[in-house]
């Protein structure tokens, strides 16, 4: 876990609704705010549902990862990894910030394979 890394909720300056993740327009149907204050999001949360996934996507080499959706005490919900294995729905968890992946897929690599076509030359 790296010191100084934080996760945020985004509070609409107009109606005070809290958001996560970041939105461009306030999600309150009666508000059209576009400016948000960042507020640190963390602390205790309730685990709403979870899964343990064995078929992870490209780049992940773990045997499995646990994922969950939690609700923080301020009502904001978030998706994240769960860092332990004895999980039960409805349990209390504490949120921390850590490395969730150590790579980014920028573009596909190429492989060596000859392909044939016209190459025109001077007669």
């Amino acid at each position: 876990m790296e010191e100084g890394r934080k996760m945020y909720a985004y509070q609409c300056k107009k109606c005070q609704k809290l958001h996560h993740p970041r939105y461009i327009v306030c999600q309150n149907p009666d508000c059209d705010g576009r400016e948000f204050d960042e507020m640190e999001l963390g602390g205790k949360a309730k685990l709403l549902t979870w899964t343990r996934v064995y078929n992870l996507p490209e780049g992940f080499s773990q045997a499995w990862l646990n994922f969950g959706i939690v609700e923080f005490e301020n009502g904001v919900r978030a998706t994240g990894q769960i860092g332990f294995d004895d999980i039960e729905n409805g349990m209390e968890v504490v949120s921390t910030v850590g490395v969730i992946r150590n790579f980014v897929i920028k573009y596909k690599e190429s492989v060596n394979e000859e392909q044939y076509g016209f190459i025109f030359q001077k007669p």
Binding site: P21, Y54, L56, I100
Partner: protein, 398 residues
């Protein structure tokens, strides 16, 4: 609005394609054109082409697929666009074709759905599909579509008493249906006890996204499907007089939160309910009028949830109906006679068009051993993202 219907259908064998991506898409398109008697070159009457594909550019390295297809098939200068709406790209493309004709902008549209998924490894494909999740709040965590299906299933198990065995029952039904469908990806009969017996389940049906197991989700498939749409009033002028016409009575889509955690009730599939309601309203049909349905069972839990959100079964009762055999071909509400995504396969962008092709066969009475006797009205639900963008359609032969 003008009346719009389907006069031609085409469908490749789903699974691992033996031909290049463009050839596969063209094969489905030509089959649909031949089925309707549509000609190429100077005799072409197709004025627009819509190709639904989620990732042909990303996975198959063929972008601009619609432009390539019209040229290869010699149906220039038909307008051509590629449509992307994740796994609902196919039905989205059909919806746009419908709207083009209904509005009078077009008279005859070719709609193709195509995806080549098996050009890459399962590891890469899982990442590719996951790219449609929220780009900062979900994807970077390593979350996948099965992850959300797993979390959704756990909630419905708690709320409604859905059991793992219920998912297996639906899986067995859809595999049995696919055995009767020559274009299905998997044509193996699956025995319920083999995939549910606790003593062998770790080997025969391993966990993939707890509580979901291998038989609770669809395979990775290549495939293409196509339909030819026409304005009913123009059929004679365009040379399609006398062709069987299956009417698109209603087709609509709706969206829901991209970030799944932010749904007011995470056990509801709001976009399924709203899109099917709009399709029912357009068509003047009700859930009780539906004789046969193709629902988007990328995960078996979705067949249960969609059967409830579309009103085919009461809320919380979808799994009970499946246990009672109501959704079997000869049950009171047949669902996924094609084998569904589970066994017919799920080539993302092809799926919505493929679902419509199956309903057309049912309404023409040409579904052979899968035929639902006397089917007049059919429903499809094509599910994009984890339910954040869904297309529903009602078709009739009346």
């Amino acid at each position: 609005m003008r009346e719009v219907g389907i006069i031609g259908i085409g469908h490749t064998k789903f699974g691992k394609s033996q031909v290049p991506f463009l050839d596969m898409a063209c094969a489905a398109a030509l089959e649909a054109m031949d089925d309707a008697g549509a000609k190429t070159g100077n005799k072409n009457v197709i004025d627009q082409v819509f190709v639904g594909s989620m990732g042909s550019g990303m996975v198959s390295r063929v972008s601009g697929i619609a432009s390539a297809l019209v040229d290869t098939l010699n149906i220039r200068p038909a307008a051509a666009e590629t449509i992307e709406n994740g796994p609902a790209s196919g039905a989205s493309a059909v919806k746009l074709g419908f709207q083009a004709i209904a509005s009078g902008c077009s008279d005859c549209c070719l709609v193709v759905g195509a995806e080549g998924m098996r050009a890459v490894t399962g590891w890469e494909g899982t990442d590719f599909v996951a790219t449609m999740l929220h780009p900062t709040g979900e994807y970077p965590y390593g979350c996948t579509l099965p992850s959300f299906a797993g979390m959704f299933t756990r909630l419905l198990m708690e709320k409604n008493g859905v059991e793992s065995r219920d998912l297996s029952i639906i899986s067995v039904k859809n595999h049995a249906n696919a055995c009767l469908n020559p274009v299905a990806h998997i044509q193996n009969k699956v025995v319920l006890e083999r995939i549910t017996d606790e003593r062998i389940i770790a080997a025969t049906n391993p966990l993939v996204a707890d509580p979901l197991r291998q038989f609770d989700m669809c395979p990775v498939s290549d495939g293409a499907a196509a339909v030819l749409l026409v304005a009913k009033e123009k059929m004679k002028d365009l040379g399609f007089d006398g062709k069987p016409f299956i009417k698109i009575a209603g087709i609509a889509s709706a969206t829901d939160t991209h970030y799944v955690a932010n749904r007011a009730d995470p056990t509801e599939l709001l976009a399924v309910r709203l899109s099917s309601q709009k399709a029912y309203d357009m068509s003047g049909k009700k859930p009780e009028d539906i004789d046969v349905a193709e629902l988007h069972d990328a995960f078996q839990i979705l067949e249960i949830a969609e059967s409830e959100e579309t009103g085919l079964f009461p809320k919380g009762q979808g799994h009970i109906a499946a246990r009672e055999g109501k959704s079997e071909i000869h049950g009171e509400m047949p669902i996924n006679t094609s084998g569904g995504l589970k066994a017919k396969g799920h080539p993302l962008g092809a799926t919505g068009v493929s679902q419509i092709v199956e309903i057309v066969k049912q309404l023409r009475g040409t579904a052979q051993e899968r035929q639902v006797e006397g089917a007049k009205t059919g429903l499809i639900v094509n599910f994009g993202g984890f339910g954040n963008n869904v297309v529903s359609a009602v078709l009739t032969n009346e």
